[in-house]
């Protein structure tokens, strides 16, 4: 435990530096830049190394606490940014990803979550890592999509529609798989695929709102783009409720998902 979190600020500084360097290079260059991708890949490699070290030190996957999940969120934001840049060449996407990842890194530095090494019995499952990792990746894609929707809403044009739609499709695909791996895990752990627990109910709200957005996307309904942006932003707010906001509701008191309270 000491090894991991003690050196986190130093490794995080390197991650942020490399990520922003890559993002700036990508933003400045008109064509797709291999150098920018290399810099971002370096940032990802350092973050991945830190997570691997923490994993070894804790002797369990670092996916249990809010601080640890934010670590994965930072990582997957950078991965999503690199992937989206590499695949669709949006030169600003890595900058968005770097800013968002830095926010979560800063939260971890300014408010470190220190925890014991014990992974509670309910979390000892083969579903644990895939469920949370897939969710984190979807959060990263949907986070980028939300930022682009905000920009599009402010700008009032539709230049970003294609990128928003692709991020929405990718994010919702991962969100769906994350939710369903959770359902399969729940059957093993508690005997029911779905029990309308507070967390599950908010997951249903989030998923349904993203499906509304998906059915409003240009590929399906080629109109109402402004409404689409608003729905994507609302869905992302619901996602925040599902992720950590639900912990502050009275309905979460009896939740079987309350691992971090």
């Amino acid at each position: 435990m000491m090894l991991g979190w003690n050196i986190f600020p130093f490794m995080a500084a390197a991650v942020v530096l490399l990520a922003f360097a890559g993002a700036v290079v990508a933003f400045v260059r008109r064509e797709r830049s291999g150098g920018a991708m290399l810099l971002m890949a370096g940032a990802i490699a350092i973050m991945l190394t830190f997570i691997a070290m923490l994993w070894l030190t804790l002797q369990r996957p670092p996916l249990r606490t809010m601080g640890e999940t934010r670590l994965w969120y930072s990582l997957f934001l950078l991965v999503a940014g690199l992937f989206t840049y590499g695949r669709w060449r949006y030169r600003w996407i890595m900058l968005f990803a770097a800013i968002l990842a830095t926010v979560f890194i800063l939260i971890n530095i300014l408010k470190p979550e220190i925890h014991d090494q014990t992974l509670m019995p309910a979390l000892q499952s083969v579903w644990f890592v895939p469920h949370v990792s897939i969710y984190m990746f979807s959060y990263a894609l949907l986070g980028c999509g939300t930022l682009l929707s905000l920009v599009a809403l402010v700008r009032g044009n539709h230049d970003l529609d294609e990128a928003i739609e692709r991020l929405l499709y990718g994010g919702v695909a991962f969100l769906t798989v994350g939710m369903l791996t959770g359902a399969l895990w729940a059957k093993d752990a508690w005997g029911a695929y779905w029990s309308w627990d507070a967390k599950e109910s908010w997951a249903a709200v989030t998923w349904a709102l993203y499906l509304v957005a998906l059915h409003m996307s240009p590929a399906i309904t080629p109109r109402r783009p402004r409404t689409l942006y608003v729905v994507i932003i609302l869905a992302f707010l619901a996602l925040q409720m599902c992720w950590y906001g639900v912990n502050y509701l009275p309905s979460a008191a009896d939740s079987v998902h309350a691992y971090n309270q």
């Binding site: 752990a189 005997g191 249903a204 309905s251």
Partner: protein, 286 residues
């Protein structure tokens, strides 16, 4: 095919009529909830749930076959109906997510889910007949969701959840969550129980060897014992250590569980295809 004028009229009336119907249904279900309490799920246990489901499927299929002339069918398969069904799902989640003791058997949830599944069934039928590169994806996603929701909905009356405190003596009396006694046709007894401690005074894992129907089985969290294709036994609690000499097991009988699993797997495959193929749509107005 309906004429353009009729379709225009339908569009004009769709939203107000839809809003009125939704409001009336909401008032009716709220009133019913207040007067008679939750929906009587237990009344629809096998074979009544199968009969009700078949009647529902046949009715929807008849409606679908008359889609060329049936205004109800066109409204039920419209884009607005899709948005309404998704908003119904979101509302159900929101209402249940804000309650401390949510009841998924309330009238609002039952009627809402029935509407969602009806819409899903009709558009799945239409989508399966469509052409295009993403037909399989569409079918997997929509049929998968329909099967997963349907198995949970129609299978709920057949689901039995019992708890039993198990010690060294053979026992076959378990209790429902409402405290009613239920006699099993086999006995369970505790043979061995151990706790593996972790740091911070927490339990790393607990493990019980129990004798179920004269067979020794090991129960751990996340590792239930499948007694039959429809029945699983879980360890859910234990007596205080070191003096504790009993464990609490949960017996879940769920004949529809494999149908739910099939729907979930279809949805996962559909979601993977959605990521791989990206934004595309079916040919035709689906």
């Amino acid at each position: 095919m309906p004429c353009m004028r009729c379709m225009q009229k339908e569009r004009e009336y769709r939203y107000p009529v839809g809003a009125i119907v939704t409001a009336v249904v909401a008032i009716l279900t709220t009133t019913l909830q207040g007067v008679v309490g939750d929906f009587p799920v237990a009344l629809f246990s096998f074979p009544l749930n199968i009969i009700a489901m078949m009647l529902w499927l046949v009715s929807l299929t008849v409606i679908y076959r008359n889609r060329g002339t049936s205004r109800l069918c066109r409204v039920l398969m419209s884009r607005s109906a899709t948005w309404l069904s998704l908003l119904v799902m979101a509302t159900i989640g929101l209402v249940l997510g804000l309650q401390r003791m949510p009841s998924s058997a309330s009238w609002g949830v039952v009627v809402g889910l029935l509407y969602v599944m009806s819409h899903l069934y009709l558009i799945t039928l239409r989508g399966m007949c469509a052409t295009g590169a993403v037909r399989w994806r569409f079918t997997l996603l929509h049929l998968g969701l329909l099967i997963a929701l349907g198995a949970g909905f129609w299978g709920a009356p057949d689901r039995v959840q019992l708890r039993m405190a198990v010690d060294g003596r053979a026992n076959n009396v378990a209790y429902t969550m409402s405290g009613e006694a239920h006699t099993l046709d086999y006995y369970i007894s505790l043979k061995e129980f151990s706790v593996r401690p972790g740091g911070g005074g927490e339990h790393m894992q607990y493990e019980a060897t129990v004798t179920v129907d004269r067979e020794d089985v090991v129960l751990r969290v996340n590792h239930p014992y499948s007694r039959t294709w429809a029945e699983k036994i879980y360890i859910v609690n234990h007596g205080a250590q070191p003096a504790g000499n009993y464990v609490v097991v949960e017996i879940v009988i769920e004949p529809w569980q494999w149908l739910s699993a099939a729907g979930i797997v279809m949805l996962i495959v559909g979601a993977v295809l959605m990521f791989l193929r990206g934004p595309r749509r079916l040919n035709g107005d689906v």
